[in-house]
């Protein structure tokens, strides 16, 4: 390592990554796709609304949500029925108009409601947990223009932890896509 490189890394602050700001989603999609093809792995895009093509450009794996919700829904349904069965048959049997203790058709409604409740709660809690929320602090908020990510600007971030990341090389790479600005993200 030459002395010049050492001095440049020690004087510049450490980075979380580089952020390119785009005006249209099409620019972002193109940049994300090219960056991934160029070998960048730790990429993320920030958009004011969900855009399917961006997820495709980043080649995100399938969401785990459906599996979580299915499992929790089935557990909720089983739990709902067992609650009815356990209370009405086992620990508190009560003769109501001569109906059998295990009058399962009457237990369908609580079973159904417990299925939906467990599945819906797991969808929300699962989504929040998988996304690592709530997360009040994140380095991207340090970029002044980033507040428009929740309104009308589209951002591509290459994180510094990417093996291919190089402060100058990556900046040059991002500039090729004609962004409004490429900013350093302080950690």
């Amino acid at each position: 390592m030459t002395s010049a490189t050492i001095s440049s890394t020690s004087s510049a602050p450490r980075l979380y990554g580089l952020m390119a700001e785009f005006t249209t989603p099409d620019q972002l999609i193109e940049a994300a796709k090219t960056a991934r093809e160029a070998g960048y792995k730790r990429l993320d895009a920030y958009t004011p609304y969900p855009i399917e093509h961006v997820s495709e450009a980043l080649a995100l794996p399938r969401s785990k949500m459906p599996l979580i919700v299915l499992i929790c829904g089935l557990l909720g349904g089983a739990g709902g029925f067992l609650l009815c069965y356990w209370t009405q048959v086992m620990i508190y049997p009560w003769n109501i108009g001569g109906r059998p203790y295990n009058s399962w058709p009457a237990f369908i409604v609580p079973t159904f409601e417990c299925t939906i409740l467990a599945a819906a709660l797991s969808a929300v809690i699962g989504m929040i947990a998988i996304n690592g929320l709530p997360q009040p602090y994140h380095p991207v908020f340090n970029v002044p223009g980033f507040s428009r990510a929740s309104s009308d600007r589209f951002f591509l971030v290459v994180e510094a932890s990417d093996p291919k990341f190089d402060r100058h090389e990556t900046r040059r790479f991002l500039t090729k896509f004609n962004p409004n600005e490429v900013s350093d993200i302080e950690p």
Binding site: P48, Q88, E113, L117
Partner: protein, 466 residues
């Protein structure tokens, strides 16, 4: 008939078939919707909130007196043990159906006109369900023991009776309230992030920041978010259909004439959607004018809602007619007597008003011109709101006051406390919550509206433009 009008001449004004007025960009959508919260509240808001606050105080007065004296202050007595409280409960739950229907079912059906009204309708659902939930609890007599309805291990060794429709109700309504709440909140998280980024004051920035969970619009997050939202919609769809079905079981499982009928579940669900859309229109039309939201809630929305009301109204009207047929065809003496009593007995005018409000007046919605007129739509939806309340009155009161044994017949009348409690929820609890909602939270989904703008690169924009 309105249809004849169209034969002679062409309609004067053709509404653009758009769900978002032309010329909008993501930025203008964000600015317009968030400015309602950021700007100072208009004077009418204070006046309107003040009036509804007075209604809220009236409600609290009535409820306090109820807690002091018990349910004897209401008009209920044997044989009519279910009075206004149950009428109001069913009415409010019905109103609460539009929100989840618009958010969930219309999302799955890809009806993009839902986008500008779903947030608002969901909030209306929550407020309506909050009002609905109050009534059975107040009706308990010992409302402080309401938690006995929840299954939990206790020292008394008691458990709820799961064969009873009243326990089904507890499960259905509490699940519905919970799922509606989380659906509404999850849909709002990205918008709360927007509000955090645009809020002028430090306190509001912190509050919105906490509520938004630190949402930053990452594609990795959107990816799971979209999946979760779609799953919630899929779960809420059977739920919304089940809730009023279960409420109708409260009646249909019983043997009282006029209640014991298999038509109740579908007819209650249709009635709920009918009434829910009517209440959405009742609230949206004045707010659209007050906040100048004509770009987002266009003629297309009014026509679509009018058509949904017309279609569900016809199902409800069919229900009324088939109930009469059933009563006759069953050859059951008590059923047929109940039906004759309903139409010609001491409460005949309630039934007649019901047919007028729910059956005849909504037929005006066939007319293209009526569906284009906000005033006409407002008046029709008011008529439907009243009509649906009358329907529940007819079902509950008329059947109970004259059942099998003439010696036990007795008339029923709501007392001043009944009316204060009912109007207190309408003008007080419900409207207070709605006024607070439109003032402090984004009442139209900004993140979803952005997808309707041209060049947004998402599915909605192409449909909106076509």
């Amino acid at each position: 008939m309105a249809t004849l009008d169209l034969e002679g001449r062409q309609p004067v004004y053709v509404p653009p078939p758009v769900v978002l007025a032309p010329g909008h960009t993501p930025e203008t959508v964000t600015r317009k919707i968030s400015s309602i919260i950021i700007a100072k509240a208009p004077r009418w808001w204070y006046v309107a909130f003040g009036i509804s606050f007075c209604f809220l105080m009236m409600f609290l007065t009535a409820v306090t007196w109820l807690f002091v004296r018990g349910v004897g202050i209401w008009g209920i007595n044997i044989p009519a043990g279910w009075g206004f409280a149950i009428v109001n409960f069913v009415w409010w739950i019905g109103i609460g159906h539009a929100g989840t229907l618009i958010s969930a079912i219309l999302l799955l059906l890809r009806q993009d006109w839902r986008t500008s009204i779903n947030r608002f309708a969901e909030a209306m659902t929550l407020c309506a369900v909050a009002c609905a939930g109050l009534f059975p609890v107040l009706h308990l007599g010992r409302p402080w023991l309401a938690y006995w309805l929840i299954p939990y291990p206790n020292t008394m060794g008691l458990w709820p009776q799961f064969r009873s429709p009243l326990i089904w109700d507890v499960f259905a309504v509490s699940t519905y309230a919970t799922v509606s709440l989380i659906f509404w909140y999850v849909g709002m998280v990205p918008d709360l992030g927007t509000m955090r980024d645009r809020a002028p004051g430090k306190v509001s920035r912190i509050v919105f920041g906490v509520l938004s969970l630190g949402w930053r619009g990452s594609t990795r997050h959107w990816h799971n978010y979209e999946s979760a939202y779609l799953l919630l919609a899929g779960l809420a769809t059977p739920l919304v259909l089940s809730v009023h079905t279960v409420v109708s079981f409260d009646f249909a499982i019983g043997i009282v004439p006029g209640w014991h009928s298999t038509i109740f579940p579908p007819y209650f669900v249709a009635g709920a959607i009918f009434d829910g859309f009517a209440m959405v229109l009742t609230l949206v039309l004045p707010l659209r004018a007050a906040f100048g939201l004509h770009d987002f809630i266009t003629a297309r929305h009014l026509h679509a809602m009018g058509k949904v009301m017309l279609a569900t109204g016809l199902v409800v009207f069919y229900g009324y007619l088939i109930e009469i047929f059933f009563a006759w065809y069953s050859a059951n003496h008590d059923e047929w007597f109940m039906m004759k009593n309903r139409m010609t007995g001491p409460y005949w005018f309630v039934w007649a008003a019901l047919i007028l409000c729910n059956g005849l007046i909504p037929q005006l919605l066939w007319s293209w011109k009526v569906r284009s007129s906000p005033l006409a739509l407002f008046l029709i939806s008011m008529s439907i709101n009243i009509g649906m309340w009358l329907e529940r009155f007819v079902i509950v009161i008329v059947s109970l006051t004259r059942d099998f044994l003439p010696s036990s017949w007795a008339p029923y009348r709501g007392t001043i406390w009944d009316w204060m409690t009912y109007l207190g929820t309408v003008g007080g609890v419900f409207l207070c919550l709605m006024f607070l909602f439109v003032r402090f939270l984004p009442m139209i989904s900004m993140s979803e509206m952005r997808t309707l703008t041209p060049g947004s690169g998402s599915h909605g924009a192409q449909e909106a433009a076509s």
